[in-house]
């Protein structure tokens, strides 16, 4: 029994370390996709499969400034079916998303801020599938 408990802890230890390393690697890879923008932040999201509608999501608050163009790039981790959907909200009003009206999913969504303030970033996985992803927030000055 003691051996089993010990092995469980060892496994947890290595699995935790591996998960952190993988997500950091995904951030580094994803940051290569931001084009001419400057990296600001990254959000790591991992969600279980769910049949609940709307599907569960991770929410983040971000401050955005008037006159700045923001990009939200998504990168999905290998080994998961879920495709990350990122939505940007001003209060309850959806501003933009990488989910297109025809159901296709783009790798990025852009927003040219005209009103400084705190906005919400909502990330979930299409059709409630299990997924792990990274969202990179970057900016470009409009000059």
């Amino acid at each position: 029994m003691r051996k089993a408990i010990a092995l469980l802890f060892i496994a947890l230890f290595f699995l935790a370390g591996n998960a952190f390393a993988q997500s950091d690697e995904l951030v580094n890879t994803c940051a290569l996709n931001i084009g001419n923008a400057t990296y600001m932040k990254d959000f790591k999201v991992k969600l279980q499969q769910s049949s609940v509608k709307p599907p569960p999501s991770s929410k983040f608050s971000v401050l955005m400034n008037k006159g700045t163009i923001y990009k939200l790039n998504t990168c999905n981790a290998d080994g998961y079916e879920g495709q990350a959907i990122v939505e940007l909200y001003d209060g309850n009003k959806k501003i933009t998303s990488n989910l297109q009206p025809d159901g296709s999913v783009k790798d990025a969504a852009g927003f040219f801020c005209q009103k400084s303030g705190v906005y919400k970033v909502d990330v979930y996985f299409k059709d409630g599938k299990e997924g792990a992803a990274v969202v990179i927030l970057s900016f470009m000055q409009n000059k």
Binding site: K3, A6, F9, F13, L63, K66, G67, G110, G117, V118
Partner: protein, 307 residues
């Protein structure tokens, strides 16, 4: 074999067991205040809501945006605006170290934005010292940063690695019961970004409406920072810092923001479709108010670096 496994399990237990409740931000106040003899009380009246701290964490990159705005507006770089790194040896408590790590972090963003890789190395030496003393040096890959700083071709990578290091450090501090350190770093970062921007306005031969509006738009952040500090105001030096931010908020009296409705549109920029919403804010900072803000920001910032 069994003994080895038990030892490893104990090690894992210790490792995970050390991770305290992220909401318990008040436990490390003695560590924060260190050996400062002026500290009277380390009691916290109320813990800061996690959501409020998350909002505040997410404004931490704004000095880099401010630096980008300055550069895009044609403002020349000036080393006069950044903090003296030799002051770093005087910071003998975590309170002082955290505030000044934030200040140096903002300066680093400013230097990187203007591709001033020479001063970056000096700045990183000071950051290294403070981060070691704050026990967060593991988030900075100083060797890689040094390599990137000596190669002007890799400025984007340098910017990325330094910003990500600060972000990861913030997350770690908040998730490990050290949210006060994170809050202090944030205050330092923000005030330094504001100091650089307000000094630019003060020295500018003519008005720059875009930078002035950005300074005016910071009113909401000052409100948030002041509220954040109010959670800690019964703890020694936090009371004084809270008072300084209250003064700063007061200096914003007279700033007004109006919202007008425009036409929404979409445009392809840098390879992606960008939404341009229809609500447009317009922030006005009267001259007298701007003068008050410039003076108050300077006072607060200089108080922090002279701690």
């Amino acid at each position: 074999m069994e003994k080895i496994l038990i030892v490893l399990a104990a090690f894992a237990l210790v490792l995970f067991g050390c991770k305290s409740d992220p909401n318990k931000g008040s436990e490390n106040f003695d560590d924060i205040l260190g050996d400062d003899v002026n500290v009277e009380s380390s009691e916290v009246t109320e813990e800061m809501p996690t959501e409020a701290l998350q909002v505040l964490q997410n404004i931490s990159s704004s000095p880099v945006e401010m630096a980008a705005l300055l550069q895009a507006s044609g403002v020349e770089f000036s080393e006069r605006y950044i903090a003296e790194i030799q002051d770093v040896d005087r910071y003998n408590t975590d309170f002082k170290r955290a505030l000044n790590l934030g200040i140096l972090g903002a300066d680093l963003g400013y230097l990187n934005m203007y591709k001033k890789t020479g001063p970056v190395m000096n700045n990183m030496q000071a950051i290294r010292k403070l981060s070691e003393e704050l026990r967060v040096q593991q988030f900075f890959d100083f060797q890689t940063i040094k390599r990137l700083a000596t190669n002007n071709e890799n400025i984007d990578s340098l910017m990325y690695i330094t910003l990500q290091s600060f972000n990861n450090m913030d997350t770690y501090l908040q998730q490990n019961g050290r949210s006060e350190v994170s809050a202090l770093i944030l205050c330092g970062t923000w005030i330094e970004g504001m100091y650089i921007a307000t000094q630019v306005i003060k020295d500018a031969p003519e008005k720059n409406p875009e930078i002035e509006e950005r300074i005016g738009d910071q009113k909401g952040i000052v409100e948030n920072l002041t509220v954040m500090l109010s959670y800690y105001k019964n703890a020694g030096q936090f009371a004084n810092l809270h008072k300084q931010f209250e003064d700063l908020l007061e200096s914003y009296d007279g700033v007004t923001t109006t919202i007008t409705q425009g036409e929404p549109e979409q445009r392809e920029i840098d390879g992606i479709m960008v939404v341009i919403p229809n609500e447009v804010s317009n922030t006005v900072v009267p001259d007298e108010t701007m003068e008050n803000i410039i003076n108050t920001v300077k006072n607060v910032r200089n108080n922090l670096i002279q701690l």
